[in-house]
């Protein structure tokens, strides 16, 4: 009965108190790869480090678990999004194409879509990496405000 009461008390405790003894799975366990293969994942790590490295005590994309998160997100995403990432990762694996992709990061952002669809990938990846990092527990931890919102529960 003591154990049962302890669990009940934990469930009723405020979220901050719960975190002392319970945590999200991502903090302690490695998720299985579900979209990228091992070499793509390795390349994604490199790209994440390039786009948003850890700086000045702030976590970067790697510390925020972005490669693993994007692997999960892409596994659930539309076929079009999956194709975009696959083509982008293939271009990145090609040394001559890689230079073109790197140049894209330095270009001013524009609403015009590049004719070469692989060149869309750097824009999209940068957007996704930044968003996934800025919305991560690691990035938001210790910051006042931000990162919270009203979640609407499903209707009956």
């Amino acid at each position: 009965m003591k154990r049962r009461r302890a669990i009940q008390a934990l469930a009723a405790a405020p979220a901050a108190a719960q975190e002392v003894v319970s945590t999200g799975a991502e903090a302690v366990a490695s998720p299985a790869l579900s979209f990228f293969n091992a070499s793509e994942m390795e390349a994604l790590y490199d790209l994440c480090k390039l786009i948003l490295p850890a700086l000045g005590g702030r976590p970067g994309a790697i510390e925020a678990g972005v490669p693993q998160f994007l692997d999960f997100l892409l596994s659930k995403s539309s076929k079009a999004d999956q194709r975009l990432y696959r083509a982008g990762m293939a271009a990145w694996a090609n040394t001559s194409r890689r230079t073109q992709l790197l140049k894209q990061f330095e270009q001013a952002w524009t609403y015009d879509t590049p004719a070469d669809s692989a060149l869309i990938f750097p824009r999209r990846l940068k957007d996704d990496v930044l968003r996934a990092t800025f919305n991560s527990r690691e990035w938001l931890s210790g910051r006042r405000g931000g990162g919270t919102g009203y979640y609407w529960k499903p209707f009956d």
């Binding site: 979220a15 999200g24 390039l50 786009i51 948003l52 490295p53 700086l55 998160f69 997100l73 659930k76 995403s77 539309s78 999004d81 990061f105 330095e106 270009q107 001013a108 952002w109 524009t110 609403y111 824009r123 940068k126 957007d127 996704d128 930044l130 968003r131 996934a132 919305n135 991560s136 527990r137 938001l140 990162g147 919270t148 919102g149 009203y150 979640y151 609407w152 529960k153 499903p154 209707f155 009956d156």
Partner: protein, 528 residues
């Protein structure tokens, strides 16, 4: 116990909610059918951290293909397309954004509350396109006054002819130095700028401001989870005599009888309901004597962030010391007079705000340099969004898709809505002017563009069941009654013959109030 109500209303948002409010305040009994549930907002939502959402705020992939407004926080609020499907031609997507709950979309609206003027109501007089409204500004002014008071609209009265003054809570907030510079640059071109006009209060919605008073009057029967299927008619008199509906959860079929029927279910849902109300007498949809039902569909186009600029002196976080901040509204300045030379008819307006931080996508590079620049630009942004008038065209039409039904077996819509050269040229003009104004104000332009969002995305869909003086070219008379069936009224955005560039909700509220009170008056006199 089944009974006959004086009035049955379909929809509980701005249009239906206002009709219910108006009629019950006059002592008339009404039955209000709402397709969704009645929600206790405090119990329905809870604070969560974005990293506790399954997709870190990206949203459930592929859940909403056409509702860009849905976030992962509120995606349970929006009507899903699996239960509520619709179609559009390949290559011409239409974004139909819906909420099915008591209060409708007023639970999530942007609260912008603008009046139309005779520049809009009588637009044909100026350029010869389309049809005038069958009413003038003076006919609606009193109802605008009352709607603004009910919704505690805040703003400034500035005597701008194309944006009539109203019953507003005064907005005395000062303009930031950056905004003052922008306003001065606009003034050199005779472009008028005012403060935003917004409904205020904790939850300025039909759910909070209209329905409670209607229920409290004891005159309203609110039936939730009632998905309307068809408006029924008396075979002898030809008059509307009620509405059949399906219970959302049990799927049982019901019919509620009434002496008059008011549709306020939204532009497309009311149109759909009439199109689905077929009979031997009305094979093309109820009261659709001349094929105008569903036609002349339009909205207002948006060019989001038409210009994203930086206020240079706000760099390095100086924006936080009030260099930037605040919002404004640029009134229509094109085609105010006959014979202006522009490559398009009508005009557009802008919303602008300063003091935000630009989206990181605008920052070149990656890594430390990008982060440093992003930090430098905190609160230094200045951006504008264009909202343009879309011309109502016969070819833009909502019809029934015979091969598509919703989860309740009700035939769904096929929506054809394409923008034309007029909208494209107007969007480009708005890009050019906004870009020039920003540069003249001394701002640094990061990006400007003229890409309109797809039709429907602005959630300002209008037309399809328009008012007019001529029954051959319109569905409704000047009191929102069907020409063919006077005890059937349509009071939502579908009644608009044209829409200007101003957000339409305040006009919908005023029209619904006017139509409902006129109906009450005529019913009391036995004239309907």
């Amino acid at each position: 116990m089944a009974r006959t109500f004086p009035v049955v209303i379909v929809g509980s948002g701005a249009a239906g909610g206002m009709a219910a409010w108006a009629l019950t305040q006059l002592g008339m009994e009404c039955c209000l059918l709402e397709a969704g549930p009645l929600i206790d907002i405090d119990k329905q939502r809870e604070l969560r951290a974005v990293f506790d959402l399954p997709f870190r705020g990206f949203g459930t992939p592929e859940r909403f293909l056409h509702v860009v407004q849905a976030s992962e926080f509120d995606e349970n609020l929006w009507a899903g397309e699996k239960e509520n499907p619709y179609s559009y031609p390949p290559g011409d997507p239409y974004y139909w954004v819906r909420i099915r709950m008591a209060g409708g979309r007023t639970t999530r609206w942007g609260r912008a509350s603008w009046r139309l003027s005779d520049l809009d109501f009588q637009a044909k007089d100026l350029d010869g396109f389309g049809e005038n409204w069958p009413l003038k500004y003076d006919d609606l002014a009193h109802f605008y006054d009352r709607a603004e008071t009910l919704f505690s609209v805040q703003g400034r009265n500035e005597g701008i002819p194309q944006l009539p003054d109203g019953k507003l809570l005064p907005d005395e907030s000062p303009d930031s130095p950056a905004n003052q510079r922008f306003i001065a640059a606009a003034a050199k071109r005779d472009i008028r700028i005012t403060k935003p006009r917004r409904a205020t209060g904790t939850l300025a919605s039909s759910l909070n401001l209209l329905l409670p008073a209607a229920v409290e009057s004891g005159k309203l029967k609110l039936v939730t989870n009632a998905v309307a299927r068809e408006v029924t008619i008396d075979p002898v008199s030809g008059r509307a005599n009620g509405v059949s509906f399906v219970d959302r959860r049990s799927r049982r079929e019901f019919h509620v009888a009434a002496e008059a029927v008011i549709l306020g279910a939204s532009t497309l849902e009311s149109t759909r309901l009439l199109l689905n109300s077929k009979s031997t007498r009305w094979p093309e949809g109820l009261a659709n004597a001349r094929g105008t039902l569903g036609r002349y569909l339009f909205d207002q186009f948006y060019v989001k962030s038409v210009v994203q600029a930086i206020v240079p002196e706000a760099r390095a976080s100086r924006g936080q010391s009030r260099v930037t901040g605040g919002a404004g509204y640029i009134c229509r300045f094109r085609n105010l007079r006959r014979n202006e030379k522009h490559p398009f008819l009508r005009g557009y307006v802008y919303d602008f705000n300063s003091g935000s931080t630009p989206n990181p996508k605008y920052i070149r590079g990656v890594g430390e340099g990008m982060l440093r620049e992003l930090s430098d630009l905190q609160s230094a942004g200045f951006s504008l969004t264009t909202m343009g008038e879309v011309l109502p065209r016969y070819e833009n039409v909502a019809s029934i898709n015979p091969n598509l039904r919703d989860a309740w077996g009700i035939p769904s819509l096929h929506v054809v809505h394409r923008y034309t050269d007029n909208e494209h040229k107007m969007a480009e003009d708005s890009r050019q002017v906004a870009d020039e104004l920003c540069r003249e104000a001394g701002f640094e332009v990061l990006e400007s563009h003229a890409q309109m969002v797809p039709p429907g995305e602005s959630i300002h869909e209008l037309g399809g069941c328009r008012m007019g003086g001529d029954p051959k070219t319109s569905m409704l008379n000047r009191w929102n009654q069907c020409h063919e069936i006077p005890n059937l009224l349509v009071v939502d955005g579908s009644c608009f013959p044209s829409g200007g560039a101003q957000n339409p909700t305040l006009t919908i509220l005023a029209l619904s109030l006017r139509a409902a009170e006129h109906l009450a008056d005529t019913m009391k006199r036995g004239d309907v």
